[in-house]
């Protein structure tokens, strides 16, 4: 296994060179694909040999007990992993067939295509709702002149427009937790990602807000690919088309199996999956 070395300090955005990858032949698969990816934190091998496909315009749920590497995996998908000092990875991640870890790729451009919503709602303080939605456009220096349309569109897609259309200049912090998380979704949508990663986006929210965000996710999947980490089995079964089950036996986390959500919840091939989705451990 060739270990890719990435920047070793979090004060360095630029990635350093890596060894060439024998597996990066071009495919015609549309969507996101990982080929036996590994992740390390220093000497700690956190994730081993995960190969998965996320077809375009589907929702995939990542499930598994705490510490099995779901967050690590998801952060590999938009090159956020490399911000952690001494973090390293191996394998390849292909977006529509091209390797996002290719040295010719600009990580910032990758992150524009593969957006991310975090666990805790985190609108930018000191910015209004409107400014929050447009923050990505400013950060990535995108040329757009229909800002008002973008704000309305993204807030609508995130299911927040009706509630905030009369107070777009209010601070993002003045919203409720659920509204803040939908604002964060709207913010990621503004830069038109093809894939949206969500790491336990509802774990800090009440059941009502959670359902609203699940609605939003289903609507988003009409246009983009969604990958969501969740500890809530009902949420996984409600919202996802596919599920991937991760596990760790003390060593690095690995993928147990991945299949359609229906099969994973009714008739999985691995008995551990059945036990986990029925709440027998984890």
């Amino acid at each position: 296994m060739m270990q890719r070395t990435m920047n070793m300090t979090n004060s360095d955005l630029e990635t350093t060179g890596r060894t060439s990858d024998p597996m990066s032949e071009v495919t015609s698969f549309r969507g996101l694909e990982t080929r036996s990816v590994h992740a390390w934190f220093g000497k700690h091998h956190a994730l081993a040999g995960v190969s998965l496909r996320f077809p375009e315009r589907t929702v995939t749920g990542l499930i598994g007990p705490s510490g099995c590497g779901k967050s690590t995996f998801i952060r590999l998908l938009n090159r956020m992993h490399e911000f952690i000092p001494s973090a390293a990875m191996a394998g390849s991640v292909l977006l529509n067939g091209s390797d996002i870890y290719d040295p010719s790729e600009d990580p910032a451009m990758i992150r524009l295509k593969v957006g991310m919503v975090f666990q805790k709602p985190n609108p930018f303080p000191a910015m209004s709702i409107r400014e929050n939605v447009l923050a990505g456009i400013k950060l990535a220096h995108l040329k757009r002149d229909n800002h008002d349309d973008i704000v309305e569109q993204c807030l609508t897609r995130a299911g927040l427009w009706k509630e905030v259309k009369d107070r777009l200049d209010a601070s993002g912090g003045s919203l409720s937790g659920g509204q803040q998380q939908r604002l964060c979704i709207a913010r990621s949508l503004a830069v038109e990602p093809q894939v949206l990663l969500m790491d336990e986006p509802c774990s800090a929210l009440d059941p009502g807000s959670t359902l609203r965000i699940e609605e939003t996710i289903k609507e988003l999947a009409e246009k983009i690919t969604v990958i969501i980490v969740t500890h809530n089995m009902q949420q996984a079964s409600r919202v996802s088309d596919f599920c991937a089950f991760f596990l760790t036996d003390g060593g690095p986390g690995y993928l147990v199996e991945a299949d359609s959500t229906r099969k994973m919840f009714t008739n999985p091939s691995d008995p551990r999956t059945a036990d986990y989705v029925q709440g027998k451990f984890g």
Partner: protein, 328 residues
């Protein structure tokens, strides 16, 4: 029809445990002590200087003359005291030098803090932080000596440059081309005194920016500079202002460095490259040694004025800090 009577609110009592009561007593005593000390200092200053204020009134603050009639004490007691005390130019001098220092120090500190926190290689990070704290503890006398012995040569070159290029502006014009002991050069030295504290505070507040918010900037396709501009700097703004105010406090009250660097001249001057200047604190230090009784009262009055200026600056600062703290 039944009416429900609104009950009177019940009294609620809180019973503190013994440990709570003891701790409360200790911290209350501590807080009171510092308040009482401050009060005592203020009343001492007011008491000792009230005669001066009664005699000179507002003139003490606006006037431009300081003359101590010291011969009278040596026997000529029948002659009326012809002393005149006023500190106008010293107040202006304090403000001018402190302003120059802050204009130089604040951008340097922000840049330095951002560099250390976000760009410096991890291997030298700790060293830089430790050096900064060390620099903040160096006595100002050392800075003053450094200023005279070493920095003045550079400062004069910069001053000459400013005078050459911008001499047509009144503040950069000079009567004599003798830049060595000018408020500008003194302000530069003062800035070097302020930078360590301000940088240290700024770095601390920048380092508290939630990692989540910075990550979000990256996840939106932003660069490091983008993250710094849209998250780190707004998030740290109020803390940086507070740090700058700490520095300003030091700059306004700085005695020794100014004492060494500037010729005290009792003349209003806004020409920052001219070799006239001074500030209240260094004036007090300069005059105290050989002062007559009345002059000492006048010096204490000057101290009171400085005390009040510092108090006002601090109040304005905490006001700004409160208004610029982002609510989330």
């Amino acid at each position: 029809m039944t009416t429900v009577e609104t009950p009177a609110p019940r009294e609620m009592t809180v019973i503190y445990s013994r440990a709570d009561r003891v701790f409360r007593g200790i911290v209350t005593a501590g807080a009171l002590t510092s308040l009482i000390l401050l009060g005592l200092i203020a009343s001492f200053l007011v008491y000792r200087s009230s005669g001066i204020f009664r005699e000179f009134g507002l003139k003490f603050i606006t006037g431009t003359e300081w003359f101590s009639d010291s011969f009278r004490e040596v026997g000529d007691e029948a002659r009326p005291d012809s002393s005149v005390f006023s500190i106008g130019p010293m107040i202006v001098g304090s403000v001018v030098v402190a302003t120059i220092a802050m204009l130089i120090a604040v951008p340097l500190s922000i840049g330095g803090a951002l560099y250390i926190e976000f760009y410096a290689p991890r291997s030298i990070y700790r060293v830089l932080v430790a050096m900064l704290d060390l620099a903040a503890a160096i006595p100002s006398l050392i800075f003053g000596l450094w200023g005279i012995e070493i920095f003045t040569a550079f400062g004069v070159r910069w001053a000459t440059f400013l005078n050459d290029r911008l001499g047509f502006l009144p503040i950069f014009s000079v009567e004599f081309e003798n830049f060595g002991r000018s408020p500008f050069v003194a302000g530069c030295v003062l800035a070097s005194l302020v930078v360590p504290i301000t940088t240290s505070v700024a770095r601390e507040v920048y380092s508290r920016t939630p990692r989540d918010l910075i990550d979000t900037c990256y996840a939106l396709g932003g660069s490091k500079w983008g993250a710094i501009r849209s998250v780190v700097m707004p998030y740290g703004r109020s803390g940086v202002i507070a740090g700058a105010m700490l520095g300003l406090g030091r700059a306004l009250g700085e005695t020794v460095a100014i004492y060494l660097m500037l010729n005290l001249v009792f003349k209003y001057s806004y020409q920052i490259l001219d070799s006239t200047g001074g500030n209240v604190a260094s004036m007090i230090a300069l005059k105290f040694g050989e002062a007559t009784d009345r002059e000492i009262s006048a010096l204490i009055a000057a101290g009171l004025v400085l005390f009040i200026i510092t108090l006002i600056v601090n109040m304005v600062a905490s006001n700004i800090v409160q208004r610029t703290t982002p609510r989330s």
